[in-house]
């Protein structure tokens, strides 16, 4: 006779019925677009409703020979690597600070995520104002501190714009990851730390031999998440700089957008996004493996 537990578990009809709405949605708005974009890449569609002609791999060969495409890839690489490095290190640092025992820590630990809660357009307005060359408070402070003679054009000079946009994005995402690292830090058994303290282990030794090994799985998960999210970021860069000045912040998503909606080369943009997706898929598989190695599957 089947037990009750099995009876609950084995009702395939209900299970499929419940998952159907989301599955349908994902197929229509993700799987179909993916297939459609791959197909579009072989045609020469320039805008919606334009007649399509099959041109084989022409789009792909044009992209691979386009120096601007490779420049955008390089900028994406710089953008992503810097973002991941600073977000992961920054979140570790912030989490270690907030892991101390201090007054009001519950409140602070919950509200530290506020920069992430801010809508992107607010983020853009806020930093454009703060970093403004004429009225911005940062230039005022640097100037009155005697650090600079003339105001820095953070968002409009070629040498400053990329570091500035990276800084702003890191400022926003660090608290988000810090919360996750903080939760991991709190899983370290108190007895272990106390025993190490009794044995006279220094702060550095405790960090290297107890803290770091415990939170390493979480650090690898957030490294991958940060990578996948950073590389796809469009809104923040676009609202701050529109990819400028002179393409200096035109990362791959920005370049694809410009090709599609400013140069009206839908097919070429679709082909580029397919290339980007295939590249990301490799990392997505790595991400799933990391997650499942932690035994996270339901």
């Amino acid at each position: 006779m089947r037990t009750l537990r099995q009876k609950i578990a084995e009702d395939p009809f209900l299970g499929l019925l419940l998952v159907a709405p989301l599955l349908f949605w994902v197929i229509v708005t993700l799987v179909y677009p993916l297939l459609y974009a791959s197909q579009l890449g072989f045609y020469n569609v320039r805008y919606v409703g334009a007649p399509a002609r099959f041109i084989g791999l022409s789009n792909y060969s044009r992209i691979l020979g386009d120096p601007n495409f490779w420049k955008a890839c390089l900028r994406s690489l710089i953008w992503t690597v810097c973002n991941v490095a600073f977000q992961v290190l920054g979140s570790l640092l912030v989490a270690l600070v907030l892991n101390q025992r201090f007054r009001g820590r519950t409140l602070i630990r919950n509200w530290i995520i506020l920069p992430w809660v801010l809508p992107t357009v607010v983020l853009a307005i806020m930093w454009t104002w703060i970093l403004d060359p004429t009225h911005g408070v940062v230039n005022y402070l640097l100037k009155s501190g005697g650090l600079i003679a003339s105001p820095l054009k953070f968002l409009s000079s070629p040498q400053w714009v990329m570091p500035t946009v990276i800084f702003i994005n890191v400022w926003r995402w660090t608290p988000y990851f810090a919360i996750i690292v903080l939760a991991a830090l709190q899983t370290i058994p108190k007895e272990l730390m106390e025993a190490a303290l009794v044995d006279g282990a220094s702060v550095m030794r405790r960090f290297w031999h107890i803290t770091l090994p415990t939170i390493r799985p979480v650090l690898s998960v957030i490294t991958l998440i940060s990578f996948l999210w950073s590389i796809n970021i469009f809104d923040t860069i676009w609202l701050l700089t529109r990819g400028g000045p002179l393409d200096f912040t035109t990362t791959l998503p920005i370049y694809i957008y410009k090709r599609a909606f400013q140069d009206f080369r839908f097919s070429e943009a679709a082909a580029m996004s397919v290339i980007m997706f295939l590249f990301l898929l490799g990392f997505a598989v790595a991400y799933l493996r990391t997650l499942f190695r932690e035994g996270a599957e339901g």
């Binding site: 009750l4 578990a9 299970g15 998952v19 989301l22 104002w129 009225h135 997706f277």
Partner: protein, 273 residues
């Protein structure tokens, strides 16, 4: 020695808080400064006078209420649909057993690494063909895709915390599966559902790429698109922008004050085993 340690501890905490809080403090106080003080070349760190003129002018010069209404409509619809679809799907994936369940779970997990830009072009063409381009509906459809699959993942920890025995007891008492889901399961996992709804609201409220391409006419524009237009002006009206920023940031902050605890719970439980 102990005194120095305490001082160092509070200094480090203070440094972290001010690094993240001071830009927000700055925008908040600037939104209340009269224009001469706001644009003065010697900024005041504690405002000398207080005015609501920027807020008044915001409503006069920008169709702010319309954008606000549009954003609210899109974000709450997205939150509602996401919460429903993700709850059902999560129940199915975590509590039912059928062939293809593991695949389904992985599909949802992978879907949030899609480049948004990859989906944008085909969706734009698809929506244009079926005639829903340039409507709030198109935006909601796109936003649910951004939020729902990840929500299934957030819900995992909450759903696993509901003991199987509770469901079994209800089944013995003659309740149907659908009754169990609505009367027992969802109330018990309510914090998770709230977290998912808040997250979806935040994402949709803030989203710019889809909002700026799938909606064209001014009457359907959402806040991020409406306000970003003013960011591109040659002479930016800073007072109005500050006031607008405060008002745009307000609903997410309120939402977070209400359900942020659960959101953080879901976020951390998903990543930390």
């Amino acid at each position: 020695m102990k005194g120095i340690k305490t001082v160092a501890k509070y200094l480090s905490v203070f440094a972290v808080i001010s690094f993240f809080a001071s830009p927000m403090y700055w925008v908040l106080i600037c939104s209340f400064k009269p224009t001469p003080e706001l644009l003065s070349l010697k900024p005041t760190f504690v405002p000398h006078s207080f005015t609501l003129e920027h807020y008044r002018r915001l409503f006069q010069q920008v169709d702010f209420l319309r954008y606000y209404y549009n954003s609210f409509l899109v974000a709450s619809s997205t939150a509602l649909i996401t919460a429903l679809a993700a709850t059902f799907a999560a129940y199915s994936v975590y509590r039912c057993r059928y062939p293809g369940r593991r695949f389904m779970f992985r599909l949802f997990l992978v879907s949030y690494v899609f480049p948004k830009i990859l989906v944008l072009i085909p969706l734009y063409i698809l929506f244009a063909r079926i005639g829903i381009l340039d409507s709030p509906l198109a935006l909601v459809a796109a936003h649910v895709t951004l939020t729902a699959p990840f929500s299934v993942w957030i819900l995992r920890a909450f759903f696993e915390s509901v003991p199987k025995e509770v469901e079994e007891a209800a089944l013995v008492d003659g309740a149907t599966r659908v009754q169990i889901i609505f009367r027992i399961f969802i109330p018990l996992a309510a914090p998770g559902v709230a977290a998912v709804g808040i997250n979806a609201f935040l994402m949709s409220w803030s989203e710019y790429l889809f909002a700026s391409t799938l909606v064209i006419s001014d009457q359907f524009k959402t806040l991020p698109v409406g306000m970003s237009f003013f960011l591109q002006q040659y002479a930016i009206e800073w007072g109005i922008m500050m006031a607008g920023s405060v008002l745009i940031a307000l609903p997410p902050i309120i939402g977070f004050a209400i359900a942020g605890k659960y959101f953080i719970q879901g976020l951390t439980a998903g990543s930390v085993k």
